[in-house]
Symmetry: C2
Subunit: 245 residues, 2 copies
């Protein structure tokens, strides 16, 4: 039987989704606990990697297992074995041709920041801090340039393994709430560090360290160095993965 | 010169505000860093204790020091020395007769919970989880009974050192936001574990384990055992301390 899992995790203690040379990946923990539960070696496939320290509200994965445990029972059985910072939120029976990575049509990321000269201990592990002032209107205008089909090579860290660097962004929105600022970015796929570089570049625009036109230049030249810094992983959340257009 | 500090802290790694036999208190860390900064032993006085694991958005403290460092410089100098989970948010010059504990007129606590059968890793360290269903209207009615001047002896853990157990509650509100439930409680003072016992008792009312009239019975009898369980510290935040009526 093929199962689809929706997984929430707090990424602080993990080297991202995938197993790394050093450190533990979330996928690895899930595979170990599933294998313990089912008494055979289980391999799971995620919708894609998340970087070291990145969190997920709705990472999606699939696995096949020679069992008929009902999906809703799988949630409770697996959560009993999983640590506090990784929990399955939902489990469904998946079609035979479902593939967590290849069937994915749309991903939504959220990046959380707050504006303050003073660090906030209660937000320290899940927000980036930005020192004001910030021209948020300029950032919103630049964010609009991200929407559409572009070559995002300049928005990717060197060493990215993806062959094509062309992606479509459906939505790139800034939401203000008191002293907090959320970036919501939705697209058909993302390159390594892409969201964190988009956020860093928008923040540099907001601080007038870069012009709004920087996005056009980066699309044209593919030059990563033209952009803003890669913002910290701790503010980034994989919100959801969608399998319908 | 006398200084007033407003301090935010994430309580997970501390044995509350005050120094304990085992473990470190937030007050102690502040005293050590202040003493390092000013080159003499500094004693600070907080508005009151917070229990082990409880957080604060706006704990207030005062101290006297033989220095003329401007308050706004104190914030930055002290934060450089403080760990990530304790940061001074504001520092002001205080009147000679200001006392963080005795001058306090009003405290506001917030308790955070979410309703779900499944644990949420991203909320695990700062929310209590309540398994639905929950009769929130019954809880709101019982919460209204807390408002006013009452003997809260039954809402205090044994061994509380306070002599009088009479307190006035100005506001006891439940706020729903999606699957989250916040309890906001404002009063002229709180006994040991009082907020966490109020929350636990209201939740037992919401689960029909206790009748709404339990509040009246507890005020009348002073019997702690009649109430609900003491809810976990990790969901509790000292939001603010006010020095005006």
């Amino acid at each position: 039987m093929k199962y689809k899992l929706i997984v929430e995790y707090f990424g602080k203690n993990y080297n991202g989704w995938q197993r790394q040379k050093n450190g533990v990946g979330v996928q690895q923990v899930l595979e170990e606990k599933l294998s313990d539960l089912l008494g055979s070696t289980i391999k799971i496939v995620g919708s894609g990697r998340t970087d070291t320290g990145v969190h997920a509200l709705g990472q999606v994965a699939h696995f096949e297992a020679n069992t008929t445990i009902p999906p809703e029972k799988m949630v409770f059985a697996l959560n009993t074995l999983l640590p506090d910072d990784i929990k399955v939120q939902r489990c469904e029976a998946a079609d035979a041709d479902f593939h967590a990575q290849y069937s994915a049509k749309r991903k939504t990321y959220r990046y959380q920041a707050y504006l303050s000269r003073i660090p906030s201990p209660l937000r320290d592990d899940r927000y980036a801090r930005i020192v004001p002032p910030l021209d948020i209107e300029a950032m919103k205008r630049c964010a609009q340039k991200m929407v559409g089909v572009h070559d995002f090579a300049a928005f990717s860290s060197l060493g990215s393994e993806k062959k094509s660097t062309i992606r479509e962004i459906y939505r790139c929105e800034l939401i203000q709430n008191g002293d907090e600022l959320y970036f919501e970015i939705e697209g058909n796929g993302f390159l390594y560090n892409m969201v964190r570089i988009i956020v860093g570049t928008l923040v540099f625009v907001g601080k007038s360290k870069l012009p709004e036109s920087i996005a056009d230049e980066m699309f044209r030249t593919g030059n990563r160095k033209a952009g803003g810094k890669t913002f910290p992983a701790k503010g980034l959340f994989l919100k959801s993965v969608s399998y319908t257009k």
